[in-house]
Amino acid sequence: MTCTLNLHQVHSDYQGQQVLKGLDLTLAQGEILALLGPSGCGKTTLLRAVAGLQAISQGEIQINGKTVSGAGQFVPSEQRGIGMIFQDYALFPHLTVAENILFGVAKLTAAQRKARLDDMLALVKLEGLAKRYPHELSGGQQQRVSIARALAYEPQLLLLDEPFSNIDAQVRHSMMAEIRSILKQRNVSAVFVTHSKDEAFVFADTLAIFNQGVIVQHGRAEDLYSAPNSRYVADFLGSGNYLPAEVLDGHSVATPIGELRSLTPLSQSHAFNGQVFLRPQQLALSADDTGVGTITERRFLGAFCHYWVKVEAASHAHYVEVRSQIMQLNVGQRVGLSTEPHSLVLFES
């Protein structure tokens, strides 16, 4: 499999501060990668570095095997063959939809240009709007124009900088799905920057979790969710409970809620003392007057309930968040806790 994008130990400074600190990343042809991280973590800087809009101080960036930044080389943005989609759509307000879409298209005959335009308008479902100006379009339509404009240029790589954050929540998901299918249809490689894990899950094939200038974990969304390599990744992808745990053997640990078994062998050795990470839906409740926990808070959320359960242990109490289909448990009631069968995740304390 060829790699569209290859980052090797990329460092970058912005206004005297190190924003990227030794970044490694690869992107396969046709892959959509989400760069996920909190605001200000350097995601956008990385995107701009790839586009040639931001200098790197160390390391190397390759696009389709060609070094574009680093090792004493610098290919200007306009020669990198990159498409970029912005949060504010960045449509040229003085140009019509058609002119915007064809902005980067050069060296084509009039007929070819027309064909390209029609193709793009059909792709983004904006037929008939070619003569409009950007301010006459809705936000979603504008974003589609910007996608069409980027794709009309036939980029080797598409970079998307928080492209959906200005779009109404109601249409955001359908929009994402739609654009994802467009990209897949054209087999476009793309890097997508977002701070929302939900967007990343829907839109991307792989996720790279970003924190303070480095990529903490990179892989398929499911893998990252179920097997985070750090508490940071675990927390970023959703809330969860940490309970003290001691490894008993290759498959089981002792915790305040009892002995838990893992579906897969544990990597930690016998007598390892750490914490087990349990997502709320991986726990199950049962009404049990002799159970280990007491319900302290209940929150009804429609299809399920969230309960906070107090578990008394030897030294002190732990609070555990549980998502349960069982609705009828009340505050103060004693309950038993068990886990759904899954591979356990253990962290150092």
Binding site: R48, G52, A55, F74, S77, G83, F86, F103, A106
Partner: protein, 544 residues
């Protein structure tokens, strides 16, 4: 930001900037030369008076225009009464009046031979100047009055905005705590508006320091007239340059004050705007007083002078409506047109470099280029002539060396020197205008354009230029008008025998027969009204 921006862009920027600050350096260099004791002679005789006159004039005009402007600004920003809508822009009209025209008109009115004193004499049976006292208008005080009348709108404009931006809840709070409206004005509104007022006063003071024509006409010797006299009268350029350096000292301290005030101003600025319902409704008596004040001011500063000018023009229409008038207009218009085009081109290039360059030092050229605005016309003229003369000689030397006929005085003997000087002085306006427009263009447009394979030059052509059209046009318009009005630089730098509307009108003013030059004077005033219409539009948008 364009990372790989070619060095040639930066070099172009620096080259332009160096060219535009050349006059300043030439002037300082010239001032550092020995000058055969002329400066010493001036210093021991008249210079202290000149300096004192300049400083007193600046002080009085500042105080005068502040006092004139404050009530108007407050009334327009905080009160509602009949006619306010019209008055709020009408009060800007005096800006279109060149001060020396107002000076002439009032001298005509209030002079010994003028209608006012004549009717007083007829009324009381006085027969000679010894019989009664009448203030002489051709004095420092008279000049201060005239300049205040013409310059107060600067302060009015800034103060009005400052008052409008002040949070009304603060005023309510102070009144709940027992302050009368009057007290809350003194204790709250005025202190909060102080930075804006300081900016306005600094502007007024700078205009006063640069004024040549009014004080020349009133025969009040100040530093600006001294520069002119020393240069042309004594024929001593170095002493004139030394005097100019003193003016620059004054001007740059005023700029320092303005910068300082602007920094503070941001502290007080608020986003919320006063709503129409928050305005004080004035009682009939109050309305009458307010209207009386504003209208009187407007009549004195604009209606009366332009009315008199108009009557001159009608009376002497036959003499004024001649081919010379057309020639003058063409001269003025073409000069202004070329200047505004050059200024816009320069502003566009410098601001483009500043925007896209990855090198922070590339912001410098546009800043440097803007300093020219601080140079009063008289001072600028010296700074322009010195290097251009050298250049002229260099060109002819090269031509001689190549055994060609030299072109003669290519730069100083033509309008080139004039265009250059105007550009130095007014490019800051175009730069400011382009800068404002640039702020409205999202940086992502640049990035998109680049990633879509467009070179920096294509980015400028295809994206920035079309989007900056409005800003460029506004800038060009302002430069155009300033170039039409600029007098001292035109007087000193014009090719010998060249006249434009401003120099022509001034010639008539100093020959005491503006009547004959009223038509060109009206053209200058009318052209000066155009930016006010623009300004008015933005004011209207403000109040909505």
């Amino acid at each position: 930001m364009i990372l790989g921006l070619a060095r040639s862009w930066s070099l172009t920027g620096y080259a332009i900037a160096v060219l535009l600050v050349l006059p300043l350096f030439a002037l300082l260099l010239q001032a550092a030369q020995p000058d055969e004791a002329v400066f010493g002679h001036l210093l021991s005789t008249v210079l202290p008076t000149y300096i004192a006159n300049s400083l007193w004039l600046i002080l009085w005009v500042s105080i005068g225009s502040l006092l004139l402007a404050l009530p108007c600004a407050w009334l327009m920003a905080r009160c509602e009464f009949i006619g306010r809508r019209y008055l709020q822009w009408a009060l800007l009209l005096p800006l279109a009046m060149p001060a020396y025209i107002v000076a002439y008109v009032y001298t005509d009115l209030f002079d010994y031979a003028g209608p006012v004193q004549r009717s007083l004499r007829a009324l009381f049976g006085w027969s000679s100047p010894q019989d009664y006292f009448f203030p002489d208008i051709r004095t420092l005080g008279g000049a201060a009055c005239v300049l205040s009348l013409v310059l107060f709108p600067y302060i009015y404009l800034l103060a009005r905005t400052a008052f409008m931006e002040q949070s009304l809840s603060l005023a309510h709070a102070s009144r709940i705590m027992g302050c009368s409206p009057w007290q809350s004005f003194w204790r709250l509104s005025l202190p909060m508006a102080r930075p804006a007022l300081a900016v306005g006063v600094a502007l007024v003071a700078m205009e006063t320091a640069a004024d040549f024509a009014t004080v020349n006409y009133f025969a009040v010797p100040t530093l600006t007239t001294a520069v002119y006299d020393t240069w042309l009268g004594y024929g001593n350029l170095t002493a004139a340059a030394k005097l100019s350096a003193i003016i620059l000292l004054v001007v740059f301290s005023l700029i320092g004050m303005e910068r300082f005030a602007r920094r503070k101003q941001q502290l007080f600025q608020k986003q919320s705007r006063i709503q129409a319902s928050d305005l004080y409704r004035l009682s009939p008596v109050q309305t009458l007083l307010a209207l009386g004040y504003c209208i009187t001011l407007l009549v004195l500063a604009f209606v009366l002078p332009s009315g008199i000018l108009l009557s001159y023009a009608i009376d002497y229409f036959e003499q004024s409506w001649d081919p010379i008038f057309w020639q003058l207009s063409v001269n003025s218009l073409s000069l202004a047109l070329i200047t505004s085009l050059v200024c816009c081109a320069v502003a566009l290039i410098l601001m483009f470099i500043r925007r896209v360059s990855p090198r922070s030092s590339d912001a410098l050229p546009s800043r440097l280029a803007s300093t020219g605005y601080a140079l009063p016309g008289t001072v600028l003229a010296i700074g322009v002539l010195v290097p251009l003369t050298l250049l002229d000689f260099a060109i002819n030397d090269i031509a001689d060396w190549l055994r060609m006929t030299g072109p003669g005085l290519l730069l100083t003997g033509s309008t080139a020197a004039l265009v250059f000087a105007f550009c130095v002085r007014f490019v800051a306006i175009a730069i400011g205008s382009v800068e404002t427009s640039y702020k409205r263009i999202s940086p992502s447009l640049d990035m998109v354009s680049l990633t879509l394979g467009q070179s920096p030059r294509r980015l400028l052509q295809r994206v920035h230029l079309p989007l900056l059209t409005k800003g460029l046009f506004a800038g060009a318009l302002l430069v155009f008008i300033e170039s039409m009005k600029e007098l001292p630089a035109a007087l000193l730098l014009r090719p010998i025998g060249f006249e434009n509307l401003a120099t022509h009108v001034f010639q008539f003013v100093s020959d005491e027969k503006l009547e004959h030059g009223a038509l060109p004077a009206i053209v200058i005033v009318l052209v000066g009204l155009v930016p006010l219409i623009y300004l008015n539009r933005s004011l209207e948008q403000d109040s909505r």
